[in-house]
């Protein structure tokens, strides 16, 4: 029954994709077909996953298959169910948003293809978390990469989009190559590619190699530093609802893969946990620093996804350290915190991408330094975006706080009880410091975005003439903003939800009292958040009563006696973030260009700053340039003249002949 719903969901997605292509490509029909089928798919998938989580009975389906060493094997266990719910929720809402977002393109672009690839992306993500067989997994993974590649290429006539697309394609396949080796190793050990046959105990060396391949392969998708370079190019290039799906859930399939493979490998040694913790801390801090440097709002959000993947990975690192030192509390809190952040980040990141899309839609630009004052022009978008911005900073009473809090208390717990074993304490301290730093930097980053884009006065005619997003886009954003608040207050339920998954990973018995403890803590947090909301309401009412029938004037902003302030005098995004960036310029290396005309009374000055990704500039560019030089060198041998190739053949045969004769 459950499996039947799941398969119907995937069938709906596939048939919707095909139908939308057949429907002619332009006009609004593809959008309607795409919307209906993806909503159907999402509802069915969520229903199936919720049934598994609720009843606790796993569903599976195993069919004979032509592929050697394998069967067509899919299953829903709590881990899959958790990811299915996350994926379907975000994709369903993204489909609602997408119908309006794609509307302006309806005469210029083939929307049928766009919806087909959207549905394919959705279905392939579901298949990735469903499949229990190496070959099926790799096929689904490849389908996911390719369909998202075509979606990134939606506006392929623009040069930077094409470049982003190619970088993404290369990165995706480099990752895929690692995963192929991984499954070859796993399958070779067990002479089957079904996940449930991966039972042969592995040597530490082999397990270590598989772990490293998993970190590289899945990390390339998730955006672990330094494998993230494709991400800040590809996510902004895609249409906004696709950016939301890619940043909100697609990169999380990397996290899923990592958890799944690690759970197949038996008890992890401690260094695995340390590796993930370190990667998480570095990705988190460097990701948010780069986010702070960006001028393009969608690029900023893409970097912030790297930061949040960092937070999730810190949680996973604590999980592995917890298992290896036999500390179930640490393991459970790290895993539960990481998973909850997967879910919550899916919600608020897609909300923020929707908001960014609405802003780009309304103003025609993505450069934050040209925006400002959009609060008055796009009030609905502004409110939703503001809630999302506060949520991503982990502020109570919103959902971002919930997952981060679990990781925090996991880390504090191990720090407090440590003592005898120094290692885990240091791990906890690294996690705490990184989370604290990320929290402060994220607050700087998102106050900047919200303040510069929506508040103050418009900085250009583009933002002066901005218009509010159409109804279905606003509906999608409002729904997600409401979810941010509700999930923030429903911490206890979130804990119960995710403890089913942790129970599967760590044993239900061991997890029960930790889940209860977290449940009780979150009851108190919800109490605190409730108090915060009530006090706010009381103070607001008090303010209203006090100001009622008093003189309430309106005037200009007081600029210290200067009588003709212009909007260009406002602090820009760059000036707001500069003090923080300059504090960390030894990491991010911003480049500043100052042009000041010399002489008395200079009448002209200019200043511009840009921050290139150091990993791209100092790591990947040299490597790929070297490969390209090597290719150029070989190119001399193969220049396209057939006579030359015939000569090569003749020489080769001659040499072979001489060798033989000798």
């Amino acid at each position: 029954m459950t499996m039947c719903m799941m398969l119907t969901s995937i069938a709906a997605l596939f048939s919707g994709g095909i139908l939308s292509v057949l429907s002619g490509g332009s006009g609004s029909r593809p959008s309607r077909i795409g919307l209906v089928t993806s909503l159907t798919g999402a509802v069915l998938a969520i229903a199936a996953a919720a049934t598994v989580l609720w009843t606790g009975t796993e569903a599976d389906l195993r069919l004979a298959w032509q592929v050697p060493f394998a069967s067509f094997y899919i299953a829903i266990d709590p881990l899959s169910a958790f990811f299915i719910i996350t994926i379907s929720l975000v994709c369903g809402i993204a489909a609602i948003y997408g119908t309006s977002y794609l509307h302006p393109y309806k005469d210029r672009k083939n929307l049928g293809a766009a919806w087909c690839f959207f549905n394919l992306l959705f279905a392939s993500m579901l298949l990735v978390v469903l499949s229990r067989n190496g070959v099926l997994f790799l096929v689904a993974w490849e389908a996911m990469s390719l369909s998202s590649f075509f979606l990134v290429m939606f506006e392929h006539e623009r040069h930077e989009v094409r470049e982003a697309g190619w970088v993404y394609l290369i990165a995706a396949h480099a990752g895929q190559a690692c995963l192929m080796f991984l499954f070859i190793l796993l399958g070779g050990q067990n002479s089957s590619l079904d996940f449930d046959k991966f039972t042969t105990p592995m040597g530490t060396a082999a397990a270590g190699i598989i772990f490293i391949l998993a970190v590289a392969g899945f990390g390339a998708k998730a955006g672990f530093l330094p494998l993230h370079v494709w991400l800040p190019d590809a996510h902004p290039a895609a249409p906004s609802h696709v950016s939301a799906v890619m940043s909100g859930v697609m990169i999380k399939t990397g996290i899923y893969g990592l958890i799944r493979i690690i759970s197949l490998l038996g008890v992890p040694p401690q260094w695995w946990g340390w590796t993930l913790l370190f990667i998480g801390a570095v990705s988190g801090v460097v990701g948010v620093l780069y986010a702070l440097c960006q001028h393009d709002i969608k690029r900023l959000l893409a970097y912030s996804s790297i930061e949040n993947i960092g937070i999730i990975t810190i949680g996973l690192g604590l999980w592995l350290i917890g298992i290896s030192i036999n500390n179930t509390a640490l393991a459970a809190l790290g895993l539960m915190g990481g998973l909850l952040h997967v879910f919550n980040h899916g919600i608020f990141k897609s909300l923020l991408f929707f908001g960014a899309g609405a802003v780009a839609h309304g103003t025609g630009t993505r450069n934050m330094d040209l925006m400002g004052g959009l609060q008055k022009r796009m009030p609905g978008t502004a409110l939703a975006f503001g809630i999302g911005a506060a949520a991503i900073c982990g502020l109570p009473p919103l959902n971002g706080f919930v997952g981060e809090f679990l990781i925090y208390i996991g880390a504090f717990g191990i720090v407090a009880q440590g003592g005898a074993s120094g290692g885990p304490v240091a791990g906890g301290l690294i996690a705490l410091t990184a989370l604290g730093l990320i929290g402060g930097l994220a607050a700087a980053c998102f106050t900047k975005v919200f303040g510069v884009v929506f508040l103050g006065e418009p900085r250009s005619s583009a933002s002066k003439g901005a218009h509010e997003a159409p109804g279905s886009m606003r509906f999608a954003m409002t729904a997600l903003a409401v979810l941010c608040v509700v999930l923030g207050l429903a911490g206890p339920l979130s804990v119960r939800f995710v403890s089913k998954v942790a129970g599967q990973m760590l044993g239900t018995a061991g997890i029960a009292d930790i889940s209860d403890m977290a449940f009780r803590i979150f009851l108190k947090i919800s109490l605190g958040c409730g108090a915060l909301i009530i006090i706010t309401a009381i103070l607001w009412a008090l303010r209203r009563i006090l100001l009622f029938d008093r003189v309430n004037n309106t005037g200009p902003t007081w600029d210290c006696g200067y009588s003709a302030p212009t909007s260009r005098m406002q602090y820009t995004a760059s000036s707001f973030s500069w003090p923080v960036i300059s504090m960390f310029q030894w990491i991010v290396r911003p480049r500043v260009h100052r042009g000041i005309r010399k002489g008395f009374f200079p009448s002209y000055a200019e200043l511009s700053s840009r921050t290139d990704d150091i990993f791209r500039r100092y790591l990947f560019e040299p490597v790929f340039n070297a490969i390209s030089r090597l290719a150029q060198a070989i190119h001399a041998l193969q220049e396209g003249r057939n006579q030359l190739y015939v000569l090569y053949i003749a020489i080769t045969i001659l040499v072979l002949l001489l060798l033989k004769v000798r």
Binding site: Y408, G436, L437, I521, K524, T536, L546, Y571, F576
Partner: protein, 304 residues
């Protein structure tokens, strides 16, 4: 009994916190050889402001109006978490200081955003600096709490503070005082006092907090000033709980000692403000890094 004491502490904080500002200003006046404003001046200011109407910039939106309200509400929520000496807060659970730190983060978020809502270059400047300094201050606060957590094997504020000096000797010893020193710097930073920021200079380009609230007036400014004094109370209560190395053993005795400590800290802040000049803005991160180093030293001492 215990819960009564906690509730009484919240009420005392709500009532007495503006008095701290009076003490600081009186100390500064004495140092300068002036008579000084009345000790209750902050109360008078708040009451007067509450009676005023409003003037809003045409640029501003609901965010600007929400700033003071939400900011004050988040500080009041944090007050419910902090312990007074050995007495726990009303809302006490494992990791409660994380909720406190993030609720204060909410105050900062909304204050910064409200400042940017005015579209003024000055307020943008202040907002940017506030965001910058709080990054390190937050890490210092968290690591300081981690040190105390290791020493007391407890991860709720109430647990930490009741274990801290509960027995004859603290499990932390000198590390507690190092943490207290770091926390003092955090207190000065978060409450916009000298040497980080000067609450008296409303019209200088170097200021941080005062410039962010430049456009607020009337009821809104009253909320902000009250919120500031509550925040000072909050940090002073945390600091006093660590720095005063004994407990009386009774709930009300502890609270009396703690509140005396809070007033003593106000005097100390006044003395610091009288004896020091404000640091150049470029040096503020260095001072915060010094606080971070002190915290790390405390951590190393406790982990030795």
């Amino acid at each position: 009994m215990k819960i009564m004491a906690s509730i009484i502490h919240i009420l005392l904080a709500l009532m007495l916190s503006p008095f701290l500002m009076g003490i600081i200003n009186r100390v500064k006046a004495k140092f300068a050889g002036r008579k000084g404003q009345p000790l209750l001046q902050t109360y008078y200011d708040i009451i007067k402001l509450l009676k005023k109407g409003s003037v809003y910039s045409a640029t501003t939106t609901w965010v600007f109006r929400m700033g003071p309200v939400l900011g004050l509400a988040a500080v009041i929520t944090s007050i419910m978490i902090i312990p007074s000496g050995g007495i726990g807060g009303v809302l006490s659970f494992s990791g409660d200081f994380i909720l406190m730190a993030y609720a204060l983060g909410l105050t900062r978020f909304i204050t910064v955003v409200a400042a940017m809502d005015t579209g003024s270059a000055f307020e943008g400047m202040g907002a940017s600096r506030e965001a910058q300094f709080s990054i390190i201050a937050e890490v210092v606060l968290l690591l300081g709490m981690a040190t105390l957590a290791i020493g007391t094997k407890n991860i709720s504020l109430s647990g930490i503070y009741s274990c801290l000096w509960g027995g004859s000797a603290s499990p932390l010893g000198p590390a507690a005082f190092l943490v207290a020193f770091a926390l003092l710097i955090v207190l000065l930073t978060e409450n916009a006092r000298i040497p980080v920021d000067d609450p008296n200079t409303h019209l200088e380009l170097t200021m941080i907090h005062e410039v962010m609230v430049l456009d607020h007036g009337g009821v809104d400014l009253a909320f902000i000033q009250y919120g500031e004094s509550l925040k000072l109370w909050l940090f002073s209560a945390l600091l006093a709980g660590i720095a005063i190395p004994f407990r009386t053993g009774t709930a009300y005795g502890d609270m009396a000692v703690n509140i005396t400590g809070i007033f003593a800290i106000a005097v100390l802040v006044g003395i610091i403000e009288s004896c020091m000049a404000r640091l150049r803005l470029l040096h503020v991160p260095q001072m915060l890094l010094a606080a971070l180093s002190v915290t790390i030293a405390a951590l190393l001492w406790i982990l030795r």
